[in-house]
Symmetry: C2
Subunit: 375 residues, 2 copies
């Protein structure tokens, strides 16, 4: 466990007293609006749309975080083009709690930046990283598990990832294979990580389900900011250095320099860049249900359906139609005699897409963007 | 030919000199907007929409008539709820040339009323009846044939119907079985009518095509107004009497009485009520191509298609899609991975319908009408 020594943080090892005010949430709201057109757009991507009920994904995520910490300790990381829509969605979030990335460089720089900001607030801070656009129906179970994970993170020099127990052989997610169990008195189930697995093909995905011990990587992490930064320095020293330089430049208001530094950081995910390399990673299996609602067809899993398996939202007349997703804007939609179709109308346009093609909606948005560009 | 004697008109038998100013066109624009929702509505049914190019069906129909007669001799029969949209579509039509039906009672009262009005203008008038919402791409051939049919009608005491030579076993139209040929020097092909056939099932329709000698009944008629009224008096004496009373009441401005008389007329089509019974009916086969564009899928026959057989009108991105009809409103439509689907968007709403179900669009409009009614 030599590595662990290197990443121990200044003056903080072993058990630590419960100190809820040391906990921060960082909600990641980068990303583009391509897969949810016409509800989402370049300027209002998925976190900022309300697919499920009236509230936007990011509002619901902030509400989950507020069950554990006050709003002052919730940060939202986002691109500057999304600041206006984010302010509209989250009027209660203090202005200083928006962490604005100069450019999107995937999740590693984003997480590292957030960790450096959180650590500056409190060198012993525990931080919880949440994606901004997932669906967690049971908030109580979520709260309970995250609180347990926070305690684990507070007491150890480990990076904790929350693993989702798969209920289907999904090929759209990365998997985490668990290793030896880690015994935690009064703690949640917890395992060492045997390995990370890239998005598998369907044969492999089926095998993972059959074998057990595999979890979906949902991008939910809990750790001390200092542990993250130490692990980063060990495995991604350039990234670590870049973030420190960025913070120095930003702190002294040399904004152009700061932007240039950030733009020069490696564009890589925290999973690929760090988690797969680090030895101090634990997986805590989620006890709450979860869906990333990655496409319109995911709504068939998470929303109530009619007797023919349709999800119907808004003003629609639906006849002789099955297993379709129908979302209307302000005008009525009439659907007659189709099945397995996604139909979505908004002020931006209308999508009609076979359910098997929802992953390809971005092809459409790219063509539309080109058309607009030519205009 | 005893019947023919009875229907001879006052002082007019046998050959008549060519007198083009004796010809009137009557364009029938009754009917509802159910099958073309969301383009058509209760207040703007099919004749008043522009499915093909920029012009509305009724505009195109009036233009065809104007190739033969001046606008003053073109009448449009319509319901009063459609007068506003008709005036917008036909700004050049004299106000007095709109024949407004108090209520829709199918085509027999409508034709009879138009005939009585035309006969009042000119006792020897020839009238051409045209539906207002059909598609006739070759106007020259149409003009030539109608002119010939007018000459035939002028010279005989017969009701002439234009028969469309079927190019497919259509089950949506009535058929006319031709009888013995009628020899007309310098005239068009012409036949006695053996019988009228109601909309057949597909087996029969296929047999008609195989056997030949069957024509589609397109609702295009040419006759002297006096001959029509005499034939009407013979076979539908009550209808004849009712129309005469209606005209008397309307002529003396007793409008409430006139409305009541019209509302009391039998609701029946001219085909079923008169043409099938009359012995003085001839069929002249059309030499022009024709389509009634009865549903959205008919556009696949009459409009240019892309390489995958799609009809695409307006602002649309269409990928991996075949044999579909896509009509956009002002917002972009994106279509991905479907086939044989009708997609139509307008200010009134959005329709997504399997091509096999286009005949059932009225189910949708009825439900929407109920919903609106409840509001």
């Amino acid at each position: 466990m030599g590595l662990k020594k290197k990443i121990a943080t200044k003056g903080s090892t072993g058990k630590r007293p419960a100190r809820p005010e040391d906990t921060y949430f960082v909600i990641m709201a980068g990303g583009r609006g391509e897969r949810f057109w016409p509800l989402s757009t370049e300027f209002s991507p998925k976190p900022f749309i309300g697919l499920i009920g009236q509230k936007t994904f990011i509002e619901l995520t902030v509400e989950r975080a507020r069950r554990i910490v006050p709003i002052e300790r919730i940060f939202v990381v986002l691109g500057k083009e999304h600041v206006p829509v984010a302010r509209t969605c989250l009027p209660g979030l203090p202005q200083g709690n928006f962490i604005v990335e100069p450019v999107g460089r995937d999740t590693a720089p984003c997480v590292a930046l957030a960790a450096s900001i959180v650590k500056a607030k409190d060198p012993d801070a525990v931080m919880v990283i949440l994606p901004s656009d997932h669906f967690v129906p049971d908030e109580k179970k979520f709260t309970a598990l995250i609180k347990k994970a926070i305690k684990v993170a507070r007491g150890r020099n480990d990076l904790i990832t929350i693993g989702i127990t798969p209920d289907r052989p999904e090929t759209g997610y990365g998997y985490i294979k668990r290793g030896k169990p880690v015994t935690l008195p009064h703690g949640p189930d917890c395992f060492e990580v045997d390995r990370y697995v890239e998005k598998p093909n369907i044969t492999r995905a089926r095998r993972y389900i059959r074998e057990g011990g595999f979890y979906w990587n949902a991008g939910i992490f809990v750790w001390r900011a200092a542990v993250l930064l130490d692990t980063l320095r060990l495995h991604m020293p350039k990234m670590h250095e870049g973030i420190m330089e960025f913070q120095k430049a930003a702190g002294s208001r040399r904004l152009k320099k700061a932007d240039a530094i950030f733009a020069g950081l490696e564009k890589v995910s925290i999973d690929y860049g760090l988690m797969e390399k680090a030895k101090n990673v634990l997986v805590v299996p989620a006890t709450f249900s979860w869906d990333d609602v990655g496409t319109f067809t995911a709504l068939r899993r998470v929303m109530p359906t009619d007797k023919d398996g349709n999800v119907v939202m808004g003003n629609a007349v639906v006849l002789d139609t099955s297993t379709s997703v129908i979302i209307s804007g302000d005008k009525p939609i009439a659907v007659l005699g189709v099945s397995d179709i996604v139909i979505v109308a908004s002020d931006n346009g209308i999508l009609i897409c076979d359910a098997s093609k929802v992953q390809e909606v971005r092809r459409v948005t790219r063509i539309l963007a080109e058309k607009n560009h030519k205009k």
